[in-house]
Every structure is written in C-alpha cells, then in structure tokens.
Amino acid sequence: MDLLNALPGAVAQGFIWGIMAIGVYITYKILDLADLTVDGSMVTGMAVCAMLMVNGWNVWPAMLIALLAGMLCGLLTGIFHTFMGIPAILSGILTQLILWSVNLKIMGKANQALPARSYDVLIRQLDKYHALVILALFCVVIIALLYWFFGTKFGAAVRATGCNEKMARAQGINTSFNKVFGLALSNGIVALAGALLAQYSGKADINDGRGAIVIGLAAVIIGDALISRLPQNFVVRLTGVILGGVIYYIVYQTVIFIGLDTDLLKMLSALVVAIFLAIPHFKKTYFSKRTRKEDADHA
C-alpha cells in the first residue's frame, strides 16, 4: 500500500530527472561528448531558482534565469573543450568543481529551503497529481521544441557535428561553435530540471547534484531499451528518455520500500549503468566470431 502511495511521487521525480536526462541525451547521444558539467549545473539551477524566489521573484523569471545560468555553465565547459583544447570529460570535471564554489556562493551556505507554503511555486510535493500534470506539460513542450530545433538547418548541423566531425567541417559547419552551443543547450535544460526539483522538494542542497550524470545516463539507457522495438524518430527517442527517468525512480522507490540500505543506492545505480554501458563492448567481443562468419558468407 505504501509503495502504491509513493508511486505518484516517484513518477513526478522521474519526470524531473527525465527532463534532466534529455540534457544528457543532447551531449552524450547527439554530440557524442561525455559531459560531467551536469552534476554542477543541476545544483546551479536549483540554487538560482531558490535564491531568486526567496528574494521575492516570481517563479517564471526565476526559472528562466536558472536556465540561462545553466547555459553559462555549459558555455564554460564548451570554451574549455574547444578554445582551450581540453578533453571534454576533463572540461566537464573542471566546470563541475568550479560550480561547487559558485553554487555555495549563490546560496551563501550549503543549502537553502524553499518551503512551498511560503512561496508561490509551480509544483510541490504535497500536491503530487497537480505536479504530475505540470511536469508532463513541461516534457511535452521541451520535446516539441527540441524536435523543431533539430529539424532546422542549424539543428541538423549540430547533429552532423556529433555524428561525423570531419564530414561536418568539410560541409562548412563550424563544429567548435556547435559543440559549445550544444553544451550550453544541454546544461540549460539540466538547470531547468534543477529549478523544478528545487520547487518540488522545497529546497536546494549543494549535494543534490552528486551523481546526476549517472542518473541521466541510466535514464538515457533505459529509454533506449524501451523504444528499441518501436519505429525510431526523435520524439519517440526523447519520450523514451523521459520514461527512462520515470522507470528509474519507480525502481528506486521500490528498492527503498523493500528496505535496502539507502547508502548503497548510488553504488547500485553506478553498477547498473556500468553494466549497460558495457553491453556494446560485450556484444563486440563475444559475438564477433559469428559476425565475421556471416560477413564472409555475404562476400
């Protein structure tokens, strides 16, 4: 019974992390970059939104500023990576560490309460069904906007940058600019998810972003598995990512309900992601013999 009661909450959290995972999808899948900035930019989104609302701002401009702050985080990682030539994964780690300090300075302390009874927030834990509707709308709007964007000439050039950089440059595409743009877009979405999470959970905490990248990757991977048998298009894939986040949180709640030591949750998440990331490698290593034979038959 408790588990069923916890379900709407799990789904709401899943939606929020699903939105965050769409940001991860943009870097990890579309740009083919592993961007660790998100652990920091998630909290930046939470902190900016919380501090602005505590200081009397309306929720909408607060969320917009949070999104822009997230884009700045991505911009910084992009500059490290392209202009300064630092490998993407290191660039993200550097920004993440910078953001640890920045986020502390934004809040002035390690956490900031944003109680729903005192502030006019968009979503709150106390009204889960209302939150679910709002979050579902956010997902729809974000997916629609991204579907439009990646169908434009500029968007197609961003996709080409991640797919084949050499080809992209030969077709006159400024790949460095597109990478910086993609990182900014991704982290903007992550920070927006952070702003939503701060409202939903009624607080922003410096530790809330820890392992965000792993949750995001988990959602992307689960999403991939979910839609593997469906006709592939961009809307289906992004919807898969959102559902991936939802499933992650349902499993998470179930595991807590069963009574597993919550200290172990991060370790388990990481191990599950590691196994899924290893699958392509395992396939190549252990099924390669058969593939080669098939190739020979075709030749």
């Binding site: 964007f149 500029f154 080409a160 084949n164 440059r169 030969a170 077709q171 006159g172």
Partner: protein
C-alpha cells in the same frame, strides 16, 4: 582558378620525426582543369589536398582560389569554395543521418544555417533527381540511414554532395581506393560525368596509374613534397604506365621494383 605559391608543410617540427611534407610547392590550376595526381607513399599528395582544404595550417606560402587568399581561413570557411571526397567511404557522410539529411547538409555548405526547416518538399524533389542520375536505386530511399549503405553507394552520394552548388574546386583523395574494382569503376565513371557536366576544377589523387592517364586533361606526379612531372593535353594522351614508371625512376632515382609497388 587555384593557385599554390611556395606552400610548405612540416610535420613534427624540431623533433627527430620532423618531416618536410610539402617543399615550396607551387601549382596553378586553370578553371575547368581536371588534374590527376600520382606519386609514392609519403610524396605529399594527401598533404597537398589537406593543406588546400585547411585540415591543418601550412608553415609557409599562400593558397588562392579565384584570387582570394584562403590559406588563413579555417577549414569550415574554405568549404564554401571546396567540395571534398575522402578515401574512406565512412568519412564523407554522417552514418546516423538519412540520405536526404546528408544531402541537405551539403546543400547548405557555405550558407548561413538558420532556423528554417533543413529539408523542404522542393529539396526532396531535387535530391531525388540528383540521386536518379546515379542509377543506384537510391532515389526511393531518401529516409534511409546512410550507415546502412555500401561503401560504393556512400562514395557516390559523397560525390553528389561534394559537387552540389558547383564548388570552385573539387578535391578527390583516392576516393575509389577502398572500393572493389567493379564499384571503383562505376564511381569513377560517375565522377567523370559530374566533373564534365559542371566543368568543375578538380584535383584527383589516385593510386591507379591507368586511371590517372585515362582521366582528366592534366597529370602531375609528386615526390618528396614537390611536383616532379606535369603533363597536359596531347602529351598526356600519349602517356603509358611504363613511361610513367620510367620517368619516375629517372627523376626520383629510387629503384624500379619499389616504384611499381608504390605507384600502382
């Protein structure tokens, strides 16, 4: 018109691996010239093409296309004037994107890429007509991922893409070398058609000396980063593989058996 003036490229300068890849190389191509390029491994053929395309900066000299100096422009800006096909069929196209998406990327080469839809129905019609000419049955597969196509099909599409919007220069870097002989012949004949139809100024590197003789109006042979032979017009028509090998031997001084391995 393409002009290379004293172009020098040194790899790994000031190390034990220092290599002078292009040695004050000068070359002028008239509009409509179709030049085949041959030479042994390490002669500087690909380095020359990459220097023109801007894959890496050059260490000396200047490069002009129709009077504009391009040697200081970044690679993606030079793409406005240059169409390229690479040796590896995987390089010229984006595998995870559809045929029509790849063609639209090429269609917008050198143009501002804004927030308008990448592909309109009119574009699709144009792509279909272009693909029809390849006679590979690709015109009905606009929304097929390029990664699912064969190497020959991918090179043919890359050729179409490279020749879209009539570039001022077409660079072909051994673009048939990775294909089986039959497919290579087909791609080469498509190449000839496209170049002749649009009168594209072309530099084509090839390992096949017979192809180098049979195609184009001019042939250059490279060795040690410079041009050691430049034959055009009637004189080129009289060339044979044996004569080329002989010339190579005479000028470069390296042994004949090796030359054959390197050149053919």
């Amino acid at each position: 018109m393409l002009e290379l003036k004293n172009v020098t490229k040194i790899f790994n300068p000031n190390t034990v691996n220092e290599k002078l890849a292009l040695d004050r190389l000068s070359l002028t191509l008239e509009d409509g010239d179709f030049v085949t390029v041959i030479g042994g491994n390490g002669a500087g053929k690909s380095t020359m093409l990459n220097a023109i395309a801007g894959t890496y900066p050059i260490d000396g000299g200047k490069i002009f296309i129709n009077g504009r100096e391009i040697s200081k422009l970044p690679e993606h800006k030079r793409a406005k004037f240059i169409g390229r096909v690479f040796q590896d069929p995987m390089t010229g196209t984006a595998a995870d994107m559809w045929i029509e998406e790849n063609m639209s990327l090429a269609m917008n080469r050198g143009k501002r890429r804004g927030l308008g839809w990448a592909i309109t129905d009119a574009d699709r019609q144009l792509y279909k007509e272009l693909l029809q000419r390849l006679d590979l049955g690709l015109e009905d597969r606009l929304s097929t991922k390029v990664g699912l196509l064969s190497g020959g099909q991918r090179q043919a599409i890359t050729l179409l893409m490279a020749s879209m919007n009539n570039p001022e220069l077409l660079l072909l870097d051994e673009h048939t070398a990775a294909l089986d002989p039959k497919t290579a012949a087909k791609v080469l004949s498509i190449t000839r058609e496209i170049i002749e139809e649009s009168k594209l100024t072309t530099l084509m590197i090839t390992h096949n000396m017979q192809d180098a003789i049979n195609n184009g109006n001019r042939l250059i042979m490279m060795n040690a980063g410079t041009i050691i032979l430049d034959v055009r017009g009637e004189e080129k028509k009289k060339l044979t593989v044996e004569k080329l090998l002989e010339t190579f031997h005479k000028i470069s001084g390296s042994s004949f058996a090796n030359d054959r391995a390197l050149l053919s």
